[in-house]
Symmetry: C2
Subunit: 341 residues, 2 copies
């Protein structure tokens, strides 16, 4: 890789995800079709990547493969794997970003390992104690509500919640084009007096900051679209996210069961599935692609294990956009602008 200050040098983990290396390779090829000027590299087992490239006759420059000999799989313990598998795609990808030989690292591999490698190897942006991951929820008013944190950190301190709010605000402004986004603090009641020991203190800090803070919000306010951003501890956010995701499969299961009870039911169930697919189309994870780990000193995008080529492509494009919009610099500046409490 050559030093390049104007173009984002993006490394894609070819060994991360359920369908490797084909999905990362296909995603990279599709991203290049959409934007031929992208500066893309694949990291992983070069023989395996080359074999798929040949087999599928894909247009990808093999000199853009960075070989690694080890693989961190889904069953590896994150911190152990990072210590021991130094020549894995995840460790080497993060290291290249740290060494400023690349700007962004994109992976659909072991989420915990990717978070740990990004945090420990790339380091954190000055002023941010903990990295965070946001999840975007669709809302009743056809907007989006992004919840930070949904799993990067647990036992967040009040100061961390303020930092999530700052990162979320800057991301929403720069990447989603939302002017002066609103931030709510997730709690068990709207009143300032409702909450736990962490939210009481965080509430005060948010009130005194320059964030567009609207106060406490409840679990029901997310889908209701009451605010652009919601901040909470990663323990709470992760449980809520997984609970929400399971609602869809729960409903599918119930409708499937309904369909077994006679021919009329079968037809009705089919119609229902169509209506729900149409009405809830913005809950489609594929089109979202992965999510950035904010607060680390480099662009790190984490994808779902089952990421399709489309998801990988969107992750690459997102990394590129974050670079072009100078998000890391803006986050560092943002701590000073919003956080001087």
């Amino acid at each position: 890789m050559s030093p390049n200050e104007t173009k984002c040098r993006i490394i894609i983990d070819a060994m991360g995800g359920d369908y490797i290396p084909q999905n990362p390779l296909l995603g990279a090829v599709d991203a290049l079709k959409e934007n031929p000027s992208l500066d893309i590299y694949l990291i992983g087992d070069e023989k395996k990547i080359a074999a798929v490239q040949k087999e599928k006759n894909l247009e990808f420059d093999l000199s853009r493969i960075i070989h690694t000999s080890e693989v961190i799989d889904m069953h590896d313990s994150p911190t152990n794997a990072i210590k021991k598998k130094k020549d894995s795609s995840i460790v080497k990808g993060a290291t290249l970003v740290r060494e400023k030989k690349a700007d962004a690292f994109v992976s659909a591999g072991n989420t915990g390992a990717m978070m740990a490698a990004s945090t420990l190897i790339m380091g954190r942006i000055k002023g941010f104690g903990r990295p965070t991951i946001g999840a975007q929820f669709p809302t009743n008013n056809n907007k989006v509500c992004t919840v930070y944190d949904v799993g990067a950190s647990v036992d967040s301190k009040p100061m961390h919640l303020l930092e999530y709010a700052i990162m979320g605000t800057i991301y929403a402004q720069e990447m989603d084009g939302i002017k002066n986004p609103t931030v709510g603090l997730l709690s068990v009641g709207e009143e300032e007096t409702k909450g736990n020991s962490v939210t009481f203190e965080a509430h005060e800090m948010l009130k005194q900051s320059k964030i567009n803070f609207i106060g406490n919000v409840e679990g029901r306010d997310i889908l209701a679209g009451k605010t652009d951003i919601v901040v909470c501890d990663g323990f709470v956010g992760n449980i809520m996210l997984k609970f929400g995701e399971s609602f869809i499969s729960f409903m599918k299961g119930r409708i499937k069961n309904y369909a077994t009870k006679g021919f009329t039911n079968k037809i009705k169930a089919l119609i229902t599935k169509g209506v729900l697919k149409d009405s809830l189309s913005d809950m489609d994870y594929q089109s979202h692609g992965g999510v950035p780990l904010l607060g680390v000193n480099g662009i790190s995008i984490i994808g779902h294990g089952s990421s399709s080529p489309l998801a990988i492509k969107n992750m690459i494009l997102k990394a590129n956009e974050m670079f072009e919009k100078k998000l890391l610099t803006k986050l560092e500046e943002g701590k000073k602008i919003y956080g001087n409490i």
Copy 2:
């Protein structure tokens, strides 16, 4: 009221809920129709209750009204209201249970006030540091998963999570007829090493107890029906519960919007609503009635503000069942049986 050791003396809050006093009165009348031997009292403004009784020509013995002159409404701050409104139905109802002049108190009024009054006035059962409220979620395998706590306590300590597990186990055995119910600890991963500072310690305590503990469960495992009981801090449980409830209204909103786009859509949306109503019928809150506040030294059942007469009736019948099954005694014994860690 006369002392009565074999019959449950149940006080119903006639001033609690959105439709008062008619819904509590109607619920009481319906409960008596179903079980004429019930020992029921209404507490609240006797003139208002008598007026509705007369207007609707209901069979309810007016001598069974306990008059109170004050009302704690939805906007009152719970702890303040309890201190200041001594002659309110909630304070007096809880006091009568404390004084052993009644066995159970049922209210669809201010939830916070009801929780505070029950806890502070009735006191706690020996061995239980915090009361808890469970919410029942339907599951994919057509069972029920009860989550404790969903809002009675925040900042729960590890020992409290063990206590919720004990109370949940006894309630499931006695009231739902589940033998040896399984308990999962809500966390951000199934592995013992995933969680926060509270779950790490609670995990150990649960493992060493005599609870049928299956380990950590995730947000997605609740609706998947992986376990009979899930324990978590009330802050987490409350947020998840409200988030889950909002999913239904979110979907309704989306389907309604879908229906506006042409005649075919309107028909399809109607069919969808029917299918969902049929498939998700066990999510109907009315039939569940209210939820008991477990761990307090008396039977305390808390209902939703919008409780229908059916919901109130079910709350009364539940209170009676808890009394007949000697639940309070069994909880006290349960701490010794399950908790000797």
